[in-house]
Every structure is written in structure tokens, then in C-alpha cells.
Amino acid sequence: MESLRGKVAIVGAADTQVGIVPELGATQLCIDAVRRVLDDAGIGKDQVDGLVTCNSMAEPYMYHAEAMAEYLQIFPRYCISVGAGGGTTFSILHHVASAIVTGLCDTVVISMADSLRSGLSREQALLMQSATGHAQFEQPYGATVPAYYALIARAHMARYGTTQEQFARIAVACRKHASLNPSAQMRDLITVEDVVNSRMIADPLHLLDCSLVSDGGSAVILTSAERAKDFPHPPVYLLGVGEGHGHEHISQAQSLTTSAAVESGQRAYAMAGLGPADMDFAQLYDCFTPTVLLELEDLGFCEKGEGGAFVESGAIELGGVLPVNTHGGLLSHCHPGNPGSMFALTETVMQLRAQAGERQVAGAEVAMVHGQGGIMSSHTSLILGRENA
């Protein structure tokens, strides 16, 4: 089988304003992200022949990507909207890379946006997200999304002795990074004590173990490695990608403490010919703090069961061996729902272009970017690098 390694690159990356952005609805955020990413890549909309979006919860369309193409008055030959839970945001990037390599399209914009904060009430947002549970066999029990993830956290604590304070270290690290990011929604530094003393939402998850509810949009442009050299910024190459799919509903998970990130990571490492020790930083899906801990283990950055000690050592903070979520992540940068993973991608591009300002990882050349969707259900791992070698 022919490998995608090094065949496709990201040549544009941009975010809209994020956080609380009531002046733009979900549609306008998606379009604003497109406008910004075209500027970043230095091309016009007529050069785009592929468009990928995700549907919005606040302003849903039956056929979202078609609606955005119409709004933009572009007429692509590849046009699709995807479900885009955290994992599918990157699995669609996998598919787009394949589409470019097989000649379906040349220059593809992926733009995702939503306004969960301003476009929905708190109650609407809570209920819509809880609908991820099984309608007959989970939802009647009154479970919330934090509750589903709390089941994972509790299982890890029971099996490996992981503590609430260790989970809290992840929130602290993300906030530290967000404090260095002028775009982030939450920038005031927090401590482990602040996290464990914040309101309990679903034991053992406190308010500050939970990601934000935000407005925002983000977009990237992908093209072939050959064409990528013609753009103003240095290309960021796709060196490896892999997916793993374990379940949809958490009550059907094969394991609560080991996820299909094991498979997605192995597949991505194999394509790239690289391993965990080669990664200069990582962006790991952090809808709740325990997901980062499991992903660190499942992606091979530490042994299974050692995630707590790993984060406690400071390894995931800027200056540590593996800075994680250098923009602040979903915990502190922003989380508008389906588009959430996109900001990890654009941040990775900025880091690999050495444009990340105060939070720049010195000499960053290769990174792991991992997204998961559902309740640790679907996983995609990307390995991105500044050199196509």
C-alpha cells in the first residue's frame, strides 16, 4: 500500500477570535475562518477546489458544507461536511490527504466553527451534548458528558492509584500555556488547589477539570507537497496518520482505562517511521483532564498506569520533556464543540513555523496531534513535521 507520508502539507492555518464572540454566529465564524486562512495562505477563493466543514449545533444546516460553499460563492469539486467529534476532525484530514494524493482535489479548505457559548443556552448545550449517550440504555439514567468521562477517571484511579491532584496538574499546565497565549479564553494562572477546590461536577471531575464552552472557528488549507512550496509560509508536512475506533457508547467500551488511541498512535508512528521519543511536543484532546492522562499512556509517552506520575513531574509543561497543549487546549484556550480539535492543529502549524511567540517550543520539528471523539470512542493521531524527510 502506498503511504501518505510526506505527500501532503498544511499551507494555511488561522483561527477566528475565540471565547465569547456574540457578534458572530456559527455561520459567520466558519466563513471568517475561511477568510483568514485564505489570507494566511496568500490565495484567493477561486483557487480552492475542496471544502470540508462540520455541522454546527447552534446553526445547523441539512448539508452544511454546501451551504458554506454557497455563502462563499465557491464551486468546489470536493465538498463534504462531517460529524466531527474530536476524533473525526482529524480523520477527515486523513481522508482529505488521501483525496489530494488520488487526484480528487488539489487545494482543500477545512473550516470548522460553532457558537456554543452565545448561540445556545447553557441548558441547550448540556442537553445536546448529553445526547451522545445511548437513547434507551444510557440517557435515562441522567448521565451528563462530564459523568461519562468521570467513569473513565474513576476506573483509572481504582486500577492505578491515580489521584485527583494528578488530573489537576493537566488543567494547571494548560492554563499556564494559555497565560502565554493572547487569544486564549482563560488566561489567569491556577493551582492544583484551585482545581480540586472548584465545584464538583461529577466525581472526581471538578469544574476546572472540564473544558470551556466557547464560540470560535478555525481553518487549515491542505495541498500536495509539490504545490506546498509555492505558498508564503513554510509547509507543515503530514508525516503519519492513523485511526482507531473502539466503540460509540462508553457502556460498550472494551476497556475504560486503555483506548483505541493505542492503535491510532501505532499506525501513525509506523507511517512516519518515528516513535514517541521523537516528538518535540504534543497536542492531546483535553475535553476533560483524564483524557490527556490516558492519551499520554496510550500513545506511548509513558507506561500504562504511569500517567499520573508523568504529569506530576512537570513533563507536559513548556520546558518539560513533552509540552502538551501549548495553546492552552480545550481546557483553557477554547472549546466550541465539534471544531475543538482544529485549534490544536493550527497551534501545531504555528509552533512548527516558529510563530508561537512567548509559548514557542524551541527548535520544534515534529509533533503528535491527537483527537478523540465520542467518549474515548474514535481516535485519530497525526504526526506533523517541518521537514519532509
Binding site: 448540556l126 440517557q139 435515562p140 439514567y141 474513576r154 481504582a158 462508553i250
Partner: protein, 141 residues
């Protein structure tokens, strides 16, 4: 009967109706595959073990243990608010399958991973009863 209006009621389908009928009769029933011997939950038209379709509904023990749990303190909607903190748990049944449920009739703070539990049924309406679990005293079983 306690007022359960506003809660998220299960809507049985032809595939799941025998399960909910069992609950209505206060009996926990699972599908058992006569081809490979596997019990499965949730109900399916095929056996997820062997893809066979020789499935039989059988009453099961209703006992199991807590695989994991959480205390929900921010209810999913107003209809559940009066019960906070309530325990959402994954129960591994003796027959093998895992199901989500609530652990009730105990101090929520006393629930632990590995706790033995047994099924009971909460009547939400004349037609719908929901399987829940309570701590099971072990030793004298």
C-alpha cells in the same frame, strides 16, 4: 408512584421491546446466543460474538459489580435535579455484559469500584420500569 415526568424515557423498538417487557415484569432479561453461548447487551438482531441469529431471551441473575461510577452533582435536566447527587455507574453483570445504571438505596458516598450489586426496578409509569441496582450483601447468598 414518584413523579418521573420530564425524565428521558426509553422508547422501545421491536429489537428492544422484549428487554423492556422484562423490566416491566421486574425481570432482567438478556439475549443469549445458542450458537456460541455469549450473552449480550444491548439487544441486537445478530450475536455480536459470532454473527449468528439464534438468539434467545433469558432471565439472568441480576447480580454484578460496579465497574466504575460517578456522583452526578450537576443534573442533566431539571427532572433529575431533585436526586443530586445521584450515582451513574457501569455494572458488569455476572453473565458478562456491562450496562449503565444508577446505584440507589444507599449513601452515594459509599459506592466503590468492585461493590457487589443486585438489580431492582423503578416504575416510571404504568408501562415503563427502569432497571437500577442496589448494594448486595455478600456471604449469605
Amino acid at each position: 408512584m414518584t413523579d418521573h415526568s420530564g425524565k428521558i424515557f426509553p422508547v422501545p423498538t421491536p429489537e428492544t421491546a422484549p428487554y423492556w417487557q422484562g423490566c416491566h415484569e421486574h425481570e432482567l432479561r438478556l439475549q443469549h446466543c445458542r450458537g456460541c453461548g455469549q450473552y449480550q447487551f444491548y439487544p441486537r438482531i445478530i450475536c455480536s460474538g459470532c454473527m449468528g441469529d439464534d438468539l434467545q431471551w433469558v432471565a439472568v441473575s441480576g447480580v454484578g459489580e460496579v465497574l466504575s461510577f460517578t456522583l452526578v452533582r450537576r443534573a442533566v435536566s431539571a427532572a433529575y435535579s431533585s436526586e443530586v447527587p445521584y450515582v451513574v455507574a457501569l455494572i458488569q453483570l455476572r453473565e458478562g455484559p456491562t450496562m449503565m445504571s444508577n446505584v440507589v438505596e444507599c449513601d452515594p458516598e459509599s459506592v466503590a469500584v468492585g461493590m457487589p450489586v443486585t438489580v431492582l426496578f423503578e416504575d416510571w409509569s404504568d408501562a415503563v420500569s427502569i432497571p437500577k441496582f442496589r448494594p448486595r450483601l455478600t456471604g449469605g447468598e
